[in-house]
């Protein structure tokens, strides 16, 4: 301990100690008799050795290295700036990606999140988050482990005045905002008084909805808006950092007691049977999730004795943290991984680029390094010096990348129109990632050139060639992919579909949300379809549980994916699906099934499918007929095959009404909604076109993102190729001069410069095409099934790269051709 303190104090008094030592030794020499002077030895050496004892020599070396690095970087500011720019681009795009990921996985911004938990009912039928209101009241009254309870439910299909956009309105208990510690931007939030029966109807607007619908005008507070035609007073605006608790983002919050007012629902939604409300609670300090679970298990048993018909025999409640990580869909995961790989490719490209620049610089500095080695510098010391210089570059680039990454992430969020509660925050994770990336990049781009510089030798060229092909490959991948997506956008939706999707709309009453029995739902759907068919401007209406282009229902029959739909027989003429074999099913024929022609080919190749059976949704179905393929699922999967079953007791509650309008269905949505209104239900109306537009929008955003990555990579490639060729020309000026003096033509000169890079360029391009093909296949399978997999986009990508390479090589080539043999021979 004492030793450590002495060592530390020596660090602070280094200069004084050094001086004392010097004086002491000088005095010693003075006092020595003249004939013994030479017995003292080398003063300098002993000073150094004495200094070593305190163990701070490395610090001096480090300082020297930094000074050396600063000097050598400021002496070539062009190199330094290019290197920093290249590297900060590479690290920056990675940070932007991490920023986005961070923003997507951000934790809820509420007070004391850790004590907040959510309840789930585990029953025979599975796990569900929905509770009935009286059950929540029962649990609230009898539990002793929670300090508060929050209830939230939502009502789909709420319309503001004449807007056709439907709002999923969040209905919450009065303590919601107070318990979560949310403060309003304007006005006030909901409180317990608002949730009393008979209180006036009030609403709080979500920040995003306020911005998009009301242009962020604070004057809306205390104004009255009309939701579903009923007056509701806006009392406040929620802050942008809070997007909602269970439902995110929530456009509007209203007290749960206003639900009948808003929807016209009767007393029945207050019953035990209406299990649609989410239950959350705040654990008292020191209560674990397990303890809460144990108590709620016995409470559930108590509730069962009171309400045997609404509580399952083995029902119990699962308690989970409210902030459980989002379940990421596999498609999203694949997409994210692809993006991660793409941005890593950019960084790799930047490293290859920088490595090349450093190799070139190392060759130019050969003489300096040789002198250093000759006067006794250790090999390690020189490598350390070079690496310190690289580290300084990486450090500066990382700082630049922090800013760049934040900026890029902001722009990206703007491009993908993310909800405003997604925040870009530079937290310790980002800084850590930045440091790690910077260090890794330093090792990746710096170590090999540093060794190479010290060792010298023919390997330098091989390393350069490998780096060049790597960079070419990376640039090709990104350019091909961006041309692939750009083409996809221009292609627009051109799937081979049989039906007139532009004229169609779907009316979705969501019977399952409103507790209809299958029989009621079926009856109501038939009535609705009949009523809508009467509407002027509507020439057809049908019923299907899966509205085409909007949802899908996939089952597997002997390893074959089958896109299913339960439909009314009138669906086939409406979708223009002619019968090819057999017969259609009748309205009451639950075991029958009609399949598409591709499905027939896939499931029973070279056989007649009629009369064949298979098990779908726990029922053995017999094929009665074969129809044409509709192409409705091509958008998501190019290899989709289809099958249809009649609407039965299981799926009737999911029924939607499809209508075909003679004019534009978009203008009919108001009339359709009005005509389709049922007691307590305002149905959702959407055109088919809107689903396609949404999909196209996704593609457009992807194009912008991949395209900008491609742009960054091209820029890097441009810089890299330019630097490489310029250096080659400079290095071989003398040789070219000799060749020209001996009568070489211009073509020979070009061959002399370019020849050695033909192989690496070719290898890189082939590698790039292969990787791009694999990536395009993955993208096509998960997202954009209808994009043709064509060679044109690959050709265009390669051509683009060739253009970049050409642009980069013009200046060095001109220089090579302008070489004057006489002056080149003097050149040194």
């Amino acid at each position: 301990m004492g030793k450590f303190i002495r060592r530390l104090s020596a660090l602070f008094h280094r200069r004084r100690l050094q001086q004392e030592l010097e004086e002491e030794m000088a005095a010693h020499r003075e006092m020595m008799p003249a004939d013994r002077q030479r017995h003292f030895g080398s003063t300098l050496r002993f000073q150094e050795e004495a200094g070593d004892q305190w163990g701070w020599t490395w610090l001096d070396h480090f300082r020297q290295d930094i000074a050396y690095g600063t000097r050598s970087l400021t002496r070539s500011p062009g190199f330094a700036l290019t290197a920093i720019a290249v590297l900060s681009l590479g690290i920056g795009v990675n940070l932007a990606e991490i920023h986005l990921f961070n923003a997507l996985l951000h934790r809820l911004q509420v007070r004391d999140l850790d004590s907040l938990c959510r309840f789930f009912r585990v029953t025979r039928e599975g796990t569900s988050g929905g509770f009935s209101l009286p059950a929540i009241e029962f649990y609230q009254r009898h539990n002793t482990v929670l300090s508060a309870m929050i209830a939230e439910t939502f009502v789909p299909g709420v319309f503001h005045a004449e807007d056709s956009e439907d709002l999923r309105c969040s209905m919450v208990s009065g303590n919601f905002f107070e318990e979560l510690g949310i403060t309003p931007v304007y006005g006030r939030l909901l409180d317990q008084q608002d949730d009393q029966p008979g209180a006036p109807a009030v609403a709080v607007l979500g920040y995003g909805y306020w911005q998009s619908r009301f242009g962020g005008d604070p004057g809306i507070v205390l104004k009255t808006i009309r939701l579903n035609g009923k007056p509701v007073q806006v009392v406040g605006i929620a802050p942008s950092r809070f997007g909602g608790l269970v439902q995110q983002p929530a456009p509007i919050w209203m007290p749960i007691s206003q639900l009948p007012y808003l929807t016209g629902a009767g007393r029945e939604w207050m019953d035990y049977g209406s299990q649609r409300t989410f239950m959350l609670g705040r654990l008292k300090p020191g209560i674990s999730l397990e303890a809460a679970e144990a108590q709620f298990r016995s409470l559930t048993a108590g509730l069962r004795s009171q309400q045997p018909q609404s509580v399952d025999r083995n029902e119990w409640l699962k308690v989970r943290p409210a902030d459980a990580p989002l379940a990421i869909k596999p498609e999203a995961l694949v997409l994210l991984t692809t993006c991660f790989l793409l941005v890593l490719l950019v960084l790799l490209s930047a490293c290859a680029n920088l490595g090349n620049m450093l190799l070139a610089r190392g060759l130019a500095r050969q003489r300096e390094i040789e002198i250093r080695l000759a006067v006794g510098a250790g090999r390690w010391r020189v490598i350390r010096q070079l690496m310190t210089e690289n580290l300084m570059l990486a450090g500066l680039a990382s700082v630049a990348a922090l800013l760049l990454g934040k900026l890029a992430a902001r722009i990206l969020l703007r491009i993908i129109e993310a909800p405003p509660n997604l925040r870009i925050v530079t937290d310790w994770r980002i800084v850590l990632a930045c440091a790690v990336l910077g260090l890794a990049a330093t090792l990746a781009f710096g170590l090999a050139p540093a060794f190479q510089t010290v060792k010298r030798g023919p390997k330098a060229t091989r390393a350069r060639k490998i780096l060049v092909s790597l960079q070419v490959a990376v640039s090709c991948v990104l350019l091909i992919l961006s041309s692939f997506f750009t083409r996809a956008v221009r292609q627009s939706f051109r799937a081979e579909v049989t039906f007139d999707y532009a004229g169609m709309a779907v009316v979705d009453p969501s019977f399952y949300v409103h507790n209809y029995t299958p029989a009621q739902a079926r009856q109501a759907a038939l009535e609705l379809a009949a009523r809508l068919r009467q509407l002027p401007g509507i020439d057809a209406a049908s019923i299907a549980t899966i509205p085409p282009l909007r949802r899908s229902w996939i089952e597997h029959i002997s390893a074959q994916q089958l896109y299913l739909n339960a439909v009314d027989p009138s669906y086939f003429p409406m979708m223009r699906l002619p019968l090819l074999q057999g017969r259609m099913f009748g309205p009451v024929e639950p075991d029958a099934m009609v399949i598409g022609e591709s499905a027939a080919r896939r499931l029973w190749p070279n056989q007649s499918p009629l009369g064949k059976t298979c098990l779908i949704a726990q029922r053995v179905r017999t094929v009665t007929g074969v129809v044409k393929d509709s192409g409705a699922n091509l958008m998501s999967n190019p290899e989709s095959v289809e099958a249809y079953t009649p609407i039965d007791d299981k799926n009737a509650v999911y029924a939607t009404i499809l209508v075909h309008a003679t004019t534009s269905p978009g203008q009919m949505s108001g009339a359709l909604r009005a005509a389709a209104a049922l007691p307590g239900i305002v149905p959702l109306v959407a055109t088919f076109q809107s689903a396609i537009d949404r999909q196209m929008d996704t593609i457009r955003k992807t194009v912008t993102v991949v395209g900008s990555l491609g742009g960054v990579a091209s820029l890097l490639a441009l810089l890299g190729i330019f630097g490489l060729l310029a250096f080659t020309v400079a290095q071989r000026t003398r040789e070219i001069g000799v060749r020209m003096a001996l009568g070489a033509r211009r073509l020979d000169v070009l061959r002399c410069v370019l020849g050695q890079y033909a192989l690496p360029f070719g290898t890189g391009a082939v590698l790039g095409v292969a990787v791009a093909a694999a990536a395009a296949k993955v993208m096509r399978n998960i997202l954009f099934g209808f994009i043709p997999f064509d060679l044109v986009s690959f050709g265009a990508g390669l051509l683009l790269f060739a253009a970049v390479a050409l642009a980069a090589s013009i200046a060095p080539m001109r220089r090579a051709l302008r070489i004057d043999p006489a002056s080149a021979l003097h050149y040194e």
Partner: protein, 96 residues
């Protein structure tokens, strides 16, 4: 060890230590005198000696070194080690 031993009799500056070692060893041990200084630094670091600023006989500013309690302990340990080693060697020499 020699430097520690020499300092046992009181505080000395660097030249003094070198002189004493030379005198005591009858000039048998003739090392480069400068090598004393790295050793002194190490002893300072280990805490075996402390130093005070002073003025030498020739009027230069020099450091005077004093043995600490720890230094005395270390000296004893080193002497013991040394004696053990020489005893072992002597035994070997006598029996061989």
């Amino acid at each position: 060890m020699l430097a520690l031993r020499v300092l046992l009799s009181g505080q000395l500056h660097g030249y003094g230590i070198a002189q004493r070692i030379r005198a005591l060893s009858d000039s048998v041990l003739e090392a480069e005198e400068g090598s004393l200084y790295p050793t002194l630094q190490r002893m300072l670091l280990e805490g075996w000696v402390t130093s005070q600023a002073g003025v030498s006989e020739t009027g230069r500013r020099v450091r005077f070194y004093t043995l600490t309690r720890q230094g005395v302990k270390q000296l004893k340990r080193e002497i013991a080690d040394y004696e053990q080693a020489t005893a072992a060697i002597q035994t070997i020499l006598r029996t061989a």
